[in-house]
Symmetry: C2
């Protein structure tokens, strides 16, 4: 296999979940950067801002007033990309003009009543409550929809338009591209090798160690061998688990703990509230609840855009959009940097 | 097929080049935007800046001095992601840890000696020269490499770190993901339907009209039925053409003209130098030069990030990264807006 020390020459690596390749060109980090500089995230977010529609007691766009919630709070997205009642467009009149119906619901979930807090700075018990709500969402929306996408866009750089800590849930009547790829490739691996791809992968990484960022009894965080974003990680259970709703109380506690550790390291990397998009991929639901989905393993993806500093990001443009994704440091280098960072948040240390 | 007037409910559309789906949720444009505001591009770029390594007569990172070029100018990228002599990493010791050799070259091509000009403001004859150089690149690098990716990152928002008008060429010893998908899907269409997918597509769009942005005797620009970026376009020849190097002199002149028209409309949309990544996809080269590649049709993709204004972009994050790409206006709405824009550049008009 490619030696982790191989940083002077490029090579390709295979992403077995997507069936695609990435280009690792670690020597590129040497080039000077004269391009776009990102603004640092707003540091002085007020704890409570009555005009912010996500705050307790605020009025939202549809006229509803939020309860004075003290923990998590869930509501229907006021501008949903998926609505339950969209008409069927019909199959199209030509093989090059194909359309399909899309129905669904979009919800927003606030993590905490305060606007000036983020997951890594929350208490373990508060993070555990978020995890319990996620599991409930799978139970509540799963029977009706084949796919329930839980995701968090964190930071303005990742299109997040509200500083209040929150995630979103978009449940759909169809299996979207990415989970469809993950389903097909996990299924094929199961058939060919008689093992669950990501259970075997976690087992391998736990032994190989060089891409492990943080681990505990129940969970493992690695920079995947095939990561495309500089500090991309994957969060994996050690046990074979299909969906968030299958996690035991102990596993949820351990998940809260490892999330706090990972996100603390992320914030510590450049001493900034680290932007990312993250989301959960578990076995599809809806009609799939009736099928044997043993080839699936629950996992979360973290996709952070920063590359060199709090203000210099990786641009996935040009060659990446038209040919294939290219990374400027090896996954092993990224994992080592994250692994060596303190597990105490720089803001807590400063206190 | 989906009525172009269908803007109140979401639906899915199929991208036959990638074999993936996109979600069209045009009603989402109604939501207010409180997220990140982009900086406008630098308006006062000096025509000549001796410290800019892309300018005529400048010294580059490797110590070489650029000629005092008066037209286009090509040189090897001083920080190449692909090098000709990278060692073979070997096949890997486990099916989940697969690597492959990657060799290649990266070049930069300046379009013009001036830093304060862009393609839409250049003379037709100057654009024609750029096209001739592109065709030469395919002839020069094609025999050695299966894929020659010509692409332009325009604007700081698209990761471009130098305001001097230029594009890049990355030629590789492998067929990257995106052209590999395009190859497979065009090949399958050819087998199933006995016609060239994109020749038939251009013919259909020329009749349907609703997604056409601009056209001339030899070329057609459409917002593809399956576009994911708000103002994404595809540039297609009407004749069946495999590669840039196969274009006749007349077709190259018509291409210069249609590029100038498209890019003028792009700049006119928000009265700003419009950022984008663009690139050419023609039939693969190298060993493929010996094969029948009739299923291929040459085309260029333009991927511009702006959505609402010069300072509000589309974020392809969260749901898009984890599930599938979602657009906030229909391709027909985008085409209509571009189609109705003047063909005289706002900067020329002001004179
Ligand atoms: O080569 P450049 O212009 O320095 O870099 C730019 O284009 C490359 C190819 O699209 C990308 O990999 C980089 O992320 C981007 O910043
Ligand atoms: O729904 P939001 O947070 O307003 O919007 C954000 O997340 C969505 C889902 O990832 C994206 O489609 C939008 O481009 C992004 O700005």
């Amino acid at each position: 296999i490619v030696s982790p020390g191989e940083t002077d020459h490029q090579h390709l690596r295979f992403n077995p979940l997507r069936g695609s390749w990435i280009l690792v060109s670690a020597h590129r980090m040497k080039r000077p950067w004269q391009g776009q500089i990102e603004r640092p995230p707003e540091e002085n977010v007020p704890r409570h801002e009555p005009t912010n529609p996500l705050c307790p007691g605020s009025r939202r766009a549809n006229g509803e007033v939020n309860p004075k919630y003290e923990s998590t709070f869930m509501f229907d997205n006021d501008y949903p990309a998926l609505q339950p009642d969209a008409p069927d467009p019909g199959p199209g009149d030509h093989p090059l003009f194909q359309a399909k119906a899309a129905k669904g619901v979009c919800k927003v979930m606030c993590f905490h009543p305060w606007s000036d807090i983020t997951l890594p700075l929350m208490q373990l018990s508060e993070i555990k409550t978020v995890i319990d709500r996620w599991a409930e969402l799978i139970e509540e929306l799963g029977p009706k929809y084949p796919w329930v996408q839980i995701f968090e866009n964190k930071g303005a750089m990742m299109g997040c338009s509200n500083p209040h800590p929150h995630c979103q849930v978009w449940a759909s009547s169809f299996l979207p591209n990415e989970p469809d790829l993950a389903d097909g490739h996990q299924r094929a691996h199961w058939k060919t090798h008689g093992e669950v791809m990501l259970v075997e992968y976690a087992r391998q990484e736990a032994v190989r160690k060089e891409r492990v960022v943080v681990e505990n009894e129940h969970w493992l965080v690695v920079v995947p061998y095939w990561a495309s974003w500089p500090f991309q990680t994957m969060l994996l259970p050690r046990r074979h688990v299909l969906r968030l709703s299958d996690l035991t109380a102990q596993e949820r506690e351990a998940l809260a703990s490892i999330m706090k550790m990972l996100l603390t390291k992320y914030d510590n990397l450049f001493e900034v509230s680290f932007p990312y998009s993250m989301g959960w991929h578990g076995a599809p639901t809806g009609p799939y609840l009736q099928e044997d989905m043993s080839h699936w393993q629950l996992h979360a993806h973290y996709y952070p855009p920063l590359l060199r500093s709090a203000s210099v990001r990786k641009f996935m443009v040009g060659y990446e959009m038209l040919a294939l994704e290219q990374r400027d440091l090896t996954p092993e280098q990224a994992a080592e940097r994250l692994r060596n960072l303190p597990e105490v948040h720089y803001k807590d240390k400063a206190k």
